[in-house]
């Protein structure tokens, strides 16, 4: 047993009842979950293969509530696991048995919409889509659109630096956040950025976005709003092989066309999504591209003509242009529900590797090989425009040992992505799932430089402590750091 886990055990056995007492002094009874059945509802997120029953769940309603909880955590040295809507596919919100789960889902108010500034200030528990919905009438929207945007919170988006289908044009969360309010591990409230561009000094926002709750708990965010395009419609292109589809994507971008989104689905995915969304996807093709352009009707059609010309070199067997907003909506509903829709077929492990676009066809065939060697079926759904792959490895969760096997298969795929010049996660984050795979992509020095940042914000390592960094490495790092600081002070 390592120091870290020993420490955890020690804390757990000694979790003082006074933690609960202190919590009930600062929160209302309905903000605290203590009973077994209630806690179970929080024991996992969208990575259901791992479950850990937390020690207590709290549902703060304000930044001050969060700060008060953090002070209690600090006082007793009890870890905190922040949680938004619990939609992480990487296990980013999976509790620790000795942790206070800080669930911000009740902090769901939009505080201020400032159209003149093209920004909105929201509480962290507001869902991604709720922001766009609130400004839709005025012709604005919030750009990052993870497929779970209906339910995922801005808190979670910031933690994971979420992307989405349309980030090919609009960037990911880090490009669309102007400011945050952060509660630190000690319970201090800090603000970074604001309703203006490029804050002074070091870019702390870039650290906080994507830190998976490891630097503090974000309670408010100022997000950038953008003007809605006149219109947006997708074009569907079906191909007989994955390779043709992949090459077509590279050709489009290489020729200087940058659609708002280029999405890829393979046959099993097409079928499952069609069942849910009735979008009229072609069921007889091996690969489908959804390519979206924005602008006036004429502009969109002009772009489609260019794309069709390029695509004709790759033998598309199905071509359909969405004519109306309703058609477009159904097409996107299908794509955005893809992960859930695959649930109709089987349980799955969702990968999130990124590869350079030029390696697309090569990597796709390799993925098929790897899954084949494990005798797993794989369904590919991904953001092709930026090379962000989401192979879903289908497996039977009720069969013993299958999860371990599927994890291994997934690790091989991610290693392949890194070898190809890519990375292990493009938008879902590291969480628990890929924590031990970080060394595929990073050297020890890389990770140590990242961990130093965490140490600065979270000296006692209590904020979502078991995520992102390989446990042993984190233990060694902390031991060395504390030794060297002891050395200095001595």
């Amino acid at each position: 047993m390592g120091i870290f886990s020993k420490l955890q055990e020690k804390i757990k056995s000694a979790i003082p009842r006074s933690v609960i007492r202190d919590l009930s002094e600062v929160l209302k009874p309905d903000q605290i979950v203590l009973d077994q059945a209630g806690l179970q509802a929080f024991e996992t997120d969208a990575l259901t293969a791992i479950q850990v029953l937390p020690f207590v769940v709290v549902m703060p309603e304000s930044t001050e509530d969060v700060a008060a909880v953090a002070r209690i955590s600090h006082k007793y040295d009890v870890p905190m696991v922040p949680r938004g809507a619990g939609t992480s596919l990487a296990g980013g919100a999976i509790p620790l048995s000795n942790a206070i789960v800080v669930c911000v889902s009740r902090m769901n108010k939009i505080l201020d919409i400032d159209l003149m500034n093209r920004s909105a200030k929201v509480q962290a528990g507001v869902t991604n889509l709720a922001i766009s919905a609130a400004v839709d009438r005025d012709g604005f929207f919030y750009a990052p659109d993870p497929s779970s945007q209906l339910s995922c919170t801005i808190a979670g988006n910031i933690a994971m630096n979420s992307g989405g289908a349309h980030c090919l044009k609009y960037g990911v969360t880090t490009h669309n956040i102007l400011g945050v309010k952060l509660v630190t591990a000690e319970g201090k409230i800090l603000e970074f950025g604001g309703p203006f561009f490029d804050p002074a000094g070091y870019d702390f926002l870039s650290l906080i976005v994507g830190s998976e709750g490891g630097l503090g708990i974000v309670t408010e965010a100022t997000v950038m709003l953008r003007t809605k395009p006149e219109g947006a419609r997708p074009l569907l292109l079906g191909f007989e092989t994955h390779e043709q589809a992949g090459d077509c994507v590279a050709a489009i971008i290489g020729k200087g066309y940058l659609p708002v989104a280029i999405e890829f689905m393979d046959k099993p995915a097409i079928k499952a999504c069609e069942e849910h969304a009735r979008a009229g996807y072609p069921l007889d093709v091996e690969a489908l591209l959804i390519i979206e352009f924005e602008g006036s009707d004429e502009e969109i059609d002009a772009s489609f003509q260019q794309i069709l010309r390029i695509a004709s070199g790759f033998n598309p067997v199905h071509k359909r242009i969405a004519g109306t907003a309703e058609e477009a909506e159904a097409i996107w509903l299908g794509r955005k529900s893809a992960f859930g829709a695959i649930g109709r077929i089987s349980e799955y492990l969702c990968m999130d590797g990124v590869i350079p676009l030029s390696k697309l066809s090569h990597v796709l065939s390799k993925i098929a090989e790897i899954c084949n060697s494990y005798k797993f079926q794989v369904s590919n759904i991904f953001h092709a425009g930026d090379g962000n792959l989401h192979p879903l490895i289908l497996y039977d969760a009720n069969r013993t040992g299958e999860f371990q096997r599927v994890e291994k298969c997934g690790a091989e795929i991610l290693e392949l992505c890194v070898m190809a010049g890519g990375c292990i996660t493009g938008e879902h984050g590291v969480g628990l799932e890929k924590r031990d795979l970080m060394t595929l992509q990073f050297s020890e020095a890389d990770l140590i430089n990242q961990m130093r940042v965490k140490l600065l914000f979270d000296p006692n390592w209590v904020l979502n402590p078991d995520k992102v960094f390989p446990l042993e490495l984190a233990e060694t790092f902390r031991r060395d750091e504390s030794a060297s600081s002891d050395g200095e002070s001595a």
Binding site: Q40, R106, N108, G343, R344
Partner: protein
């Protein structure tokens, strides 16, 4: 999602069904956002995903449902918004039915709760008892604060919801047949609901006139009664089955006289349940096929009428109608556009509300049993209504009608009442003040 049931557990058909449902769920969490209770409470345990997970744990361990599960199941409106959202096709409806049955049979409820639930179950479905209780209720209204002090907030909620003005008396009562004047095109059975008959009989009257005018023979069976939805939502499966069996027998009798083309529902809450009779009665031996034959021809009245070429409207009007789709229509029966189209064809200007997928808080007996949450939802809906400034709100279910009338200043009617009005019937109750904005067209053809 992974489940942990033993082979023995799975021999129980209910558990097997639950397992099949649970295996489809990938715990993605999309359902939380469109859940009517979660949007108000922001607590995972009050979301479909949280409930599904708690139900799973309860069924797997075989433990008796505890207080926590009971509380959070009770807060579920059964609006089924989650089922529309769910990309994996998780059958939350039947899973929640199972959970409620478990709670009812194996859980423990305090006496007060049991009393109220029993009271509702034995009053609402029976028109005569309901009539009587309304009279008593009106007498009790002045004593609301006293009752509240005694801790019966549910009864206070019930009293608050009572119709405040004298209702228009029913034109058609009891069983009977309305024959069209011209050639008879179809013969349908109209289920008249139980509470509806007492609280707003005009809905049935309008339905009868509207259909008869279109050449449809409308039959009302004396022997058909409550659909059983209320009992089912309270976990009282046996009572629900009894209601369903009685209706099934009434249909059989009618069908023997002269075949019927449709069983028409004008209370969509009931419609959702009746359409599901093949599931509810699946444990009854030897009737499965026949039940299915009937449930296949259960239609919401909007669903039925949309296939008719209703005659040209006889009115000219600038009235703006906001349509509130009851959850039972939108999610329970996946009807989305029918009332909009019918009203539009009848010459009204039709508008949608924001957050159409969120419940108004009525949800059967919910606004009585969970008054606080129901009020939040009712107020929320009223705000959406206010934003689009309609003259009238149209809906398709009595419960929503009562709930929204209570929370919104805009008059609320059933859409059949508006259709009936447009095609020659009387002006619906509660919107008489708008009558001057409707002109009858002088048409050459006059159907009546």
């Amino acid at each position: 999602m992974k489940t942990e049931f033993t082979k023995r557990q799975l021999r129980n058909p209910d558990t097997q069904l639950a397992n099949d449902i649970l295996r489809r769920c990938v715990h993605c969490g999309l359902c939380t956002a469109t859940c009517s209770s979660y949007v108000v409470l922001g607590d995972e345990r009050d979301s479909p995903r949280g409930r599904i997970y708690m139900i799973k744990e309860m069924l797997e361990t075989g433990a008796a449902p505890d207080q926590s599960l009971t509380t959070h199941m009770d807060r579920c409106l059964t609006c089924l918004s989650c089922m529309t959202t769910c990309p994996s096709g998780v059958d939350y409806m039947h899973l929640s039915d199972l959970a409620r049955k478990e709670i009812e049979t194996r859980g423990h409820r305090p006496f007060k709760q049991r009393f109220i639930r029993r009271l509702l179950s034995e009053t609402l479905p029976y028109p005569k008892r309901l009539s009587l209780s309304l009279t008593l209720g009106t007498l009790a209204r002045p004593f609301r604060s006293l009752i509240a002090k005694m801790g019966f907030k549910e009864i206070v909620a019930m009293l608050e919801l009572l119709p405040k003005r004298a209702k228009r008396a029913a034109e058609f009562t009891g069983g009977g047949i309305a024959r069209p004047r011209g050639p008879q095109l179809k013969r349908v059975l109209l289920m008249t609901g139980c509470a509806q008959k007492v609280i707003r009989p005009a809905i049935n009257d309008a339905s009868i006139r509207l259909m008869a005018r279109q050449g449809i023979e409308v039959v009302i069976s004396k022997n058909a009664g409550c659909c059983g939805a209320m009992d089912q939502h309270m976990g009282r499966e046996k009572e629900a089955v009894d209601h369903a069996m009685r209706n099934f027998k009434a249909w059989q009798a009618l069908e023997e006289e002269d075949p019927i083309d449709g069983i028409i529902m004008n209370a969509s809450g009931c419609g959702t349940s009746v359409k599901d009779y093949d599931h509810l009665l699946s444990k009854q031996k030897g009737i499965a096929e026949e039940v299915k034959k009937f449930t296949d021809k259960v239609f919401d009245i909007s669903e039925f009428l949309i296939n008719y070429d209703l005659r040209t409207t006889e009115q000219w009007t600038d009235l703006k109608i906001a349509v509130h789709m009851p959850c039972s229509m939108m999610h329970g029966q996946r009807l989305t556009h029918q009332p909009f189209e019918l009203l539009q064809n009848a010459g009204f200007t039709v508008m949608a509300l924001d957050e159409p997928h969120i419940c108004c808080g009525s949800a059967g007996t919910y606004n009585i049993l969970q008054p606080e949450i129901a009020t939040s939802l009712g107020t929320r809906k009223a705000e959406h209504i206010k934003r689009v400034k309609p003259d009238i709100v149209a809906t398709g279910n009595l419960g929503c009608l009562t709930q929204m009338s209570h929370h919104s200043d805009t008059p609320v009617v059933h859409f059949v009442e508006l259709l009936d009005w447009a095609y020659g019937g009387p002006c619906p109750e509660g919107v008489e003040h708008l009558q001057h904005r409707v002109d009858r067209l002088k048409t050459t053809e006059n159907g009546n």
